[in-house]
Symmetry: C2
Subunit: 206 residues, 2 copies
DNA sequence: GAAAAAAGTTGAAGGCATTCATTTTTGATG
DNA sequence: CATCAAAAATGAATGCCTTCAACTTTTTTC
């Protein structure tokens, strides 16, 4: 049950995260100092570190929120995809893309990605990598559904194909967050082009 | 003409880079301090910064050396690829992979990648991104050759396909450098599996 | 070849993430 | 409700990249 201590802990943790999302988006991840977050959340610098392992950890917590939401939305699409491999994949993918800037700026995405690559064995790195893995698994799930339904040839290695498709999406998304003027519409167009090439190429095989 | 000043400059720059390659590989990029490099190169900390913009810049200089070499080796393969799309692509790709640990450790690769993602608009970030772009272009070149030769269906969008193949390679390589126990042989096997899925799927189309 | 200018070197200082010994607050016990 | 133990908060100290004003060395000028 929630004693005073528990309530205060939850409250402080939330205040810190809230301050972080706001300040990171407004001023940029890099230029926000832990001291700024501490001030905004009305705690000390040391306390921020009692709740989050590192500055990056606060960011990963936000990314996780984002990804959990799109994974949830994706479930419905996998359960009942629109007709045609191309349309089905694009629906799932645009679901991911269109939500990506809900909580995070491009800079925040870049920082989170960089973190997971640079330090894959820290809790943060592992957490981000796991989120990626689950997104890839959902793409694979959809491909299996499409194979069963005859929209994709059943002989192909669904796992390998899922990886290829997810990697394609992921690299496009990396380009997107690296390129300031690139819009979500541009991103969707690029994805459509590559998915089209893939599904049309592959649909011919049986 | 090389006056004393020019000679000393070239000499110092080389000493710093040499010290960096050695120390980064031996002790890890992170734990090597600029002061250590300065000491090893017999210059001051400030002088290191006269020759290289940042610590990351020293790393990117090493990556560039690596990539220029594999691009050169790749030229010969594009000019005269072995028969069959699968074999040709694998030859180019394994050429890239097998040289990747010549000068760089996995940690160094991870750091360079992280840098290019996190700061795409710095000279370093741009430099790394450009190296990537040139690798992708070489893959596309090979695909075009394979199309002309009939090893791949000529109707497909070579550029999009090149992107897909390169992204696949690149993501596998990222996994490789993130995963300490993964060997070059494992990496080749994974690549073979995905390339096989792609070329067999696509070769059916015409 | 002396004086002035240009180029380069130097290391101490600044900034920020992170740690940790100390202090404060909360909860349990009698 | 006074005392003690446990948990949590605090902010000064540490470490490392990077900057920059002062100093040295090299080159040019006359």
């Amino acid at each position: 049950m929630a004693g005073l201590r528990e309530k205060q802990k939850a409250d402080r943790k939330e205040r810190i995260l809230k301050a972080a999302v706001e300040r990171f988006r407004a001023d940029g991840y890099r230029s926000v100092r832990i001291e700024d977050l501490a001030e905004a959340a009305e705690v000390s610098v040391g306390t921020v570190y009692n709740y989050y392992l590192t500055k990056g950890d606060i960011l990963i917590a936000t990314v996780a929120m984002e990804v959990e939401e799109v994974l949830d939305a994706g479930k419905a699409i996998v359960a009942d995809p629109p007709p045609g491999a191309e349309a089905a994949l694009m629906k799932l993918i645009t679901g991911y893309y269109d939500h990506s800037l809900e909580y995070l700026s491009k800079e925040m995405w870049r920082t989170a990605m960089a973190l997971s690559i640079q330090e894959p064995d820290t809790p943060n790195g592992r957490h981000y990598t796991d989120l990626d893995r689950r997104l890839a698994a959902q793409v694979t799930d959809l491909i299996e559904v499409l194979q069963k339904r005859g929209d994709l040839p059943p002989g192909l290695d669904a796992f390998a194909l899922g990886q290829v498709v997810f990697n394609t999406l992921n690299m496009l998304f990396i380009e997107f967050v690296k390129d300031a003027p690139m819009t979500l519409a541009d991103l969707r167009d690029q994805a459509a082009r590559q998915i089209r090439t893939l599904t049309r190429g592959i649909a011919g095989a049986a």
